[in-house]
C-alpha cells in the first residue's frame, strides 16, 4: 500500500489483574493497520479478546504494552484533557447497548459532542439535521430513547458517533441487540457512510452476516490474530460463504 494507514497497532498486549494476584493475558501481541476509508471486521469466539482489543484501540482502556497510533498520533498514553479532546474529535463509538442518555431527546443526544465543543447553536442545528437526514431519523429527533425501537436507537447512536466527522468509527457488536431487518439496515448504513464519506470503520462482531459487509476481516483466537480474510472483488453473499467456511475451520 502507498497510503499512510489511519491506524497502526503494534505488538499490543493486555494482561488483566495486578501483579501478584490472579492474572489473565487477554491479548498476546496484536499487529495490524487500518487504511483510510477501510471497513474492517474483527471476529472471534466469545472470550477471545475482541472487546478487550477494541477498548484499547478506542482509548477506553490502556494496554499493558504495545502502541496504537491514530493519524500518526500515539494514543495509548493520552491522559486528562488531551484524551477527552482526542475522543471528542477523532473517534466515534457505537455500542451494543446503545449508550444513549435516556434523560435527553434524540436531538440532544446527537448534538452532545458539538455542545461539548461549544459549537454555536445554529451550527449544531444544521449539523444534526443533516446527519439525521442521512440516517433517516428526522422524524424521531424529539423522542426520548425509551420511545424508540432498538434499530432507531442504534441509528441515533450512529448519528452521535458521526457528527464530529471522526477519523475512525468503532462498533462493538452494534447489531447485537437488533432483529435481522434492523441489523441489515444498520449495516447498509455503515456501508453507505463508509463509501460516501470515506469514514474508516472497525466493527467487532461474532456474527458472520455482519462481518460479510466488511472489506477485510481479522480473526482473533486466544488473544492473537489467527487469520485474515480479504473480500477483494467478491460480492457480499459469496464473501459471506467464505466467512462461514473460514469460521468452520478456524474455530476447530
Amino acid at each position: 500500500m502507498t497510503t499512510t494507514p489511519i491506524m497502526t497497532v503494534t505488538d499490543l498486549h493486555k494482561t488483566y489483574g495486578k501483579a501478584g494476584s490472579k492474572q489473565y493475558e487477554a491479548l498476546k501481541g496484536i499487529d495490524f493497520d487500518v487504511q483510510p476509508g477501510e471497513f474492517v471486521g474483527i471476529m472471534g469466539a466469545s472470550g477471545s479478546g475482541k472487546t478487550t482489543l477494541l477498548n484499547m484501540l478506542a482509548t477506553l482502556d490502556q494496554p499493558t504494552s504495545g502502541e496504537v497510533t491514530i493519524h500518526q498520533q500515539p494514543i495509548t498514553h493520552l491522559k486528562g484533557n488531551q484524551l477527552a479532546d482526542f475522543r471528542a474529535k477523532e473517534i466515534g463509538f457505537i455500542f451494543q447497548d446503545f449508550n444513549l442518555l435516556e434523560t435527553m431527546t434524540a436531538f440532544e443526544n446527537i448534538a452532545l459532542p458539538l455542545s461539548l465543543q461549544n459549537t454555536p447553536a445554529k451550527q449544531i442545528k444544521t449539523a444534526v439535521e443533516n446527519i439525521a437526514q442521512q440516517l433517516g431519523i428526522q422524524e424521531f429527533l424529539t423522542n426520548y430513547p425509551n420511545e424508540l425501537s432498538g434499530g432507531q436507537k442504534q441509528r441515533v447512536a450512529a448519528a452521535r458517533a458521526l457528527i464530529n466527522d471522526p477519523a475512525i468509527l468503532f462498533g462493538d457488536e452494534p447489531t447485537g441487540a437488533l432483529d435481522s431487518k434492523s441489523a441489515r439496515e444498520l449495516l447498509d448504513l455503515f456501508t453507505k457512510i463508509n463509501q460516501e464519506q470515506a469514514v474508516s470503520i472497525l466493527l467487532v462482531t461474532h456474527d458472520p452476516f455482519s462481518a460479510s459487509f466488511c472489506q477485510r476481516i481479522l480473526f482473533i483466537k486466544d488473544g492473537q490474530i489467527g487469520q485474515e480474510l480479504q473480500r477483494g472483488d467478491l460480492d457480499r453473499s459469496d464473501f459471506y460463504q467464505q466467512v462461514l467456511d473460514t469460521l468452520g475451520t478456524f474455530e476447530q
Partner: protein, 593 residues
C-alpha cells in the same frame, strides 16, 4: 429458597441499604429529638412561661409528621426501585406472588422498625449531647429537660411503625399488581417535562395566594392567635409545593430554549434536572420548609440570646452592691478587674439611708435612662448628689442597697449634718465588670457567699437582672437553637438522601459522557451546577419564608425580631455552603469513581 435469594439481593446492594438506613435513622432520631421537647409539658411550661409555646410545638409536630410522611414515601420508593428488578426476576423464574408479597412486606417492616429503634437511641444521645453543649456554651438555665423521655419514644415508634405498615402494604400492591416485565424495566422511564399552561397558571395563582395568606396570618397572630399558626402551616406548605411544581417545569423548559443550554454540558444538566422533576419538586418543597424552619429557629434563638445582655444592661449600671465588704470580698472584686468600683459610706435608719453628698459629687453615680423601649436603647448619665435627687432615677441606687436598707430612700447630706447622725457608719461597695455574662460564675460565688442565698430577689443590680432575664429566655433560646440544629440535620439528611439515591443511576451517564470525550473539568462543573440548583432554589424560598415568618415573634420579643438578623443568616449560609461542598464531594466520588 426465596428468602435466601432475597438475602443475597440484600448483600449485593448493602451500599444502597446503608444510604437508606442512615437516612431513616437520621429522620427518626430527629423526630424523636423534636418530640422529646414537644411532649414534655413540664419542660415547656417551666422554661418559657408562655402558654402558647405548647401549642406551637403541637403544630410543629404536625409539620414534622407531614415531612416525615413524604420522607418515608420517598425512602420507600427508593427501596422499591432497588428491589423491583430482583422481584421481577423472581417472578420470571416462577415465584408465587403471595410468597413475594410476604417477602416485600417483611423486608419493608424490618428495615423500618430496626431503623426507627436505632434512631430513637441516637436521638436520645443527640438530645443529651446537643443540650449539654448549648447549656454550657450559652449559660442557660433549664428545668425538667430529659434526653430520654418515654412518651417521645412512644410517639416516634408509633408514627414510624404505622407509616411503614402503610408503606409495606403499598409495596405489596405495587409489586404484585405490576407485570414482571414492567418491573424489570421500570428504572429507565423519564418524565417528559410538559408545559400545561392552564394547569400551571392555576398552580401558580393558587400557590401565590396560599403563601400570601400564610404570610398575612403570621403577621397577624395577635388577632388570629393559634389559628394563625395553623393557617400559616397549611397554606405555606401547600403554596410552596404548588409553586415549585409549576415553576420548576417551566423554568427547565425556558432555560433549555436559551442559547447557553447548548454550551458544554448545560443541556445535559438541565435534562438531568427535568428527568426527575417529580421527585425534585417534592424534595425541594420539603427542603425549602426545613430551610425556613432551621434558619427561623436559629434566628429566633439568637434573637433571644442577643436580648439577654440588652435587657440586662438597660436595667442598672452596676453588677452588684455589697454592704460592708470583707477584705476577701474586696480581693475577689478586684480580681474581676472592674471598670468601676466605688465605695460610698452611709448611715441608715428604718426608712432612710443617709449618704454624704460630697462623696457622690466626687464619685458620680451612673444611672441608666431607657430612651426607646422597643429598641432597648438607653443612655448612661453620671449623676452628682443633686442630680440623683432630681432625676427620679434613685431607685437604681436603691436596688443596690441590699439587706435591711433595701427600701430606704437615699438622702444626701452635707458632711456636717452626716457627722451628727448617731447611727453606725457602714459601707456600700458597687462595681461594674466589663461583661456580666462572662463573669457570671465569679459573680454568683460572690453573691452567694455575701447574701447566703442564690435567690436573686434578695440582691439587685445588673447581675440579678441578668439571672432573671436569662432564666426567662433560656427556654426559648434553647428551643430555638436546638430545633434549628435538628431541622438543619433533617434538611441535610433529606438532600443527602435525594442526591445519593440518584447517584447510582447517574454513574453510567457520566461514564458515557467520558467515553464521548468530555473532560473531567466539564463533568465536575456539570455536577457542581446540578447540585447547586438543588441547593439554591429551596434556599431562596426558605429565606423569604423566614423573613415573613419572623413577624410571628413580634409578640413575644421585646426588640424587633429583625435586629442583628445578618448574623444568624451568615452563620447559616456558611453551614449551608459547607454542606453543599460536602454533598458535591460525595457525589463526585460516587459518580466519577
Amino acid at each position: 429458597m426465596l428468602t435466601k435469594l432475597a438475602m443475597t439481593g440484600f448483600k449485593h446492594r448493602w451500599r444502597d441499604y446503608l444510604v437508606l438506613f442512615s437516612g431513616l435513622i437520621m429522620s427518626s432520631a430527629i423526630f424523636y429529638m423534636f418530640e422529646a421537647l414537644a411532649t414534655n409539658h413540664d419542660f415547656l411550661k417551666q422554661n418559657t412561661g408562655i402558654s402558647m409555646i405548647g401549642m406551637i410545638f403541637q403544630f410543629g409536630s404536625v409539620l414534622l409528621t407531614i415531612i416525615t410522611l413524604v420522607y418515608i414515601s420517598y425512602a420507600n420508593s427508593f427501596l422499591l426501585s432497588m428491589r423491583k428488578r430482583d422481584y421481577g426476576l423472581f417472578m420470571l423464574v416462577g415465584a408465587r406472588k403471595s410468597k413475594i408479597g410476604q417477602l416485600i412486606w417483611l423486608e419493608t417492616l424490618l428495615v423500618g422498625i430496626s431503623a426507627t429503634l436505632i434512631g430513637i437511641i441516637l436521638g436520645t444521645a443527640l438530645t443529651a449531647g446537643i443540650s449539654q453543649i448549648l447549656i454550657n456554651s450559652l449559660g442557660l438555665e433549664l428545668h425538667h429537660l430529659a434526653a430520654w423521655y418515654f412518651p417521645a419514644a412512644a410517639v416516634t415508634l408509633l408514627l414510624y411503625v404505622g407509616l411503614f405498615l402503610v408503606a409495606g402494604l403499598f409495596n405489596l400492591i405495587a409489586l404484585t399488581k405490576t407485570p414482571a416485565l414492567k418491573l424489570l424495566h421500570s428504572n429507565d422511564q423519564p418524565n417528559r417535562p410538559q408545559i400545561k399552561p392552564a394547569r400551571q397558571l392555576i398552580e401558580i395563582i393558587v400557590g401565590l395566594i396560599s403563601i400570601a395568606i400564610g404570610y398575612w396570618s403570621m403577621g397577624h397572630l395577635k388577632q388570629l392567635q393559634l389559628m394563625g399558626i395553623g393557617i400559616a402551616l397549611v397554606t405555606i406548605v401547600l403554596g410552596t409545593y404548588l409553586l415549585f411544581n409549576a415553576i420548576f417545569v417551566w423554568l427547565m423548559i425556558a432555560l433549555k430554549r436559551l442559547p447557553v443550554a447548548n454550551r458544554g454540558l448545560n443541556g445535559f444538566t438541565l435534562s438531568q434536572l427535568s428527568f426527575r422533576i417529580r421527585n425534585y419538586t417534592k424534595m425541594l418543597s420539603i427542603v425549602a420548609m426545613l430551610f425556613a424552619l432551621a434558619l427561623g429557629a436559629i434566628t429566633v434563638g439568637m434573637g433571644f440570646h442577643s436580648q439577654i445582655p440588652l435587657m440586662t444592661n438597660s436595667n442598672n449600671a452596676y453588677d452588684l452592691g455589697l454592704v460592708n465588704t470583707t477584705k476577701s470580698e474586696q480581693q475577689q472584686i478586684a480580681a474581676l478587674k472592674p471598670k468601676t468600683n466605688i465605695t460610698y459610706h452611709f448611715k441608715a435608719d428604718k426608712k432612710t439611708v443617709y449618704y454624704q453628698a460630697s462623696e457622690f459629687n466626687q464619685h458620680p453615680f451612673t444611672t441608666i435612662e431607657v430612651q426607646d423601649k422597643a429598641q432597648l436603647s438607653y443612655k448612661t448619665v453620671h449623676n452628682n448628689a443633686a442630680q440623683i435627687k432630681k432625676s427620679g432615677f434613685n431607685y437604681q441606687l436603691m436596688q443596690l442597697q441590699s439587706g435591711s436598707m433595701e427600701a430606704g430612700t437615699p438622702v444626701f447630706l452635707s458632711s456636717a449634718a452626716y457627722q451628727k447622725l448617731a447611727q453606725p457608719e457602714q459601707r456600700l461597695t458597687i462595681f461594674t465588670t466589663n461583661d456580666v455574662v462572662q463573669h457570671r460564675a465569679a459573680l454568683k460565688r460572690l453573691a452567694k457567699a455575701h447574701f447566703h442565698t442564690t435567690d436573686v430577689t434578695n440582691f439587685g443590680g445588673r447581675y440579678a437582672s441578668y439571672v432573671m432575664v436569662n432564666s426567662m429566655y433560656s427556654g426559648l433560646e434553647f428551643m430555638g437553637m436546638f430545633l434549628g440544629i435538628a431541622f438543619l440535620a433533617m434538611l441535610a439528611s433529606c438532600l443527602m438522601f435525594k442526591i445519593l439515591s440518584g447517584a447510582d443511576a447517574d454513574k453510567h451517564r457520566y461514564a458515557m459522557l467520558a467515553k464521548i470525550g468530555t473532560t473531567k473539568h466539564q463533568l465536575r462543573s456539570a455536577i457542581d451546577k446540578e447540585i447547586a440548583v438543588l441547593f439554591i432554589l429551596p434556599g431562596i424560598v426558605g429565606i423569604v419564608h423566614v423573613l415573613f415568618g419572623l413577624q410571628m415573634f413580634k409578640i413575644i420579643m421585646i426588640t424587633s425580631p429583625y435586629t442583628g438578623i445578618w448574623l444568624p443568616f451568615l452563620i447559616f449560609a456558611v453551614l449551608y455552603l459547607l454542606y453543599y461542598l460536602i454533598t458535591v464531594n460525595i457525589y463526585r466520588r460516587i459518580v466519577l469513581q
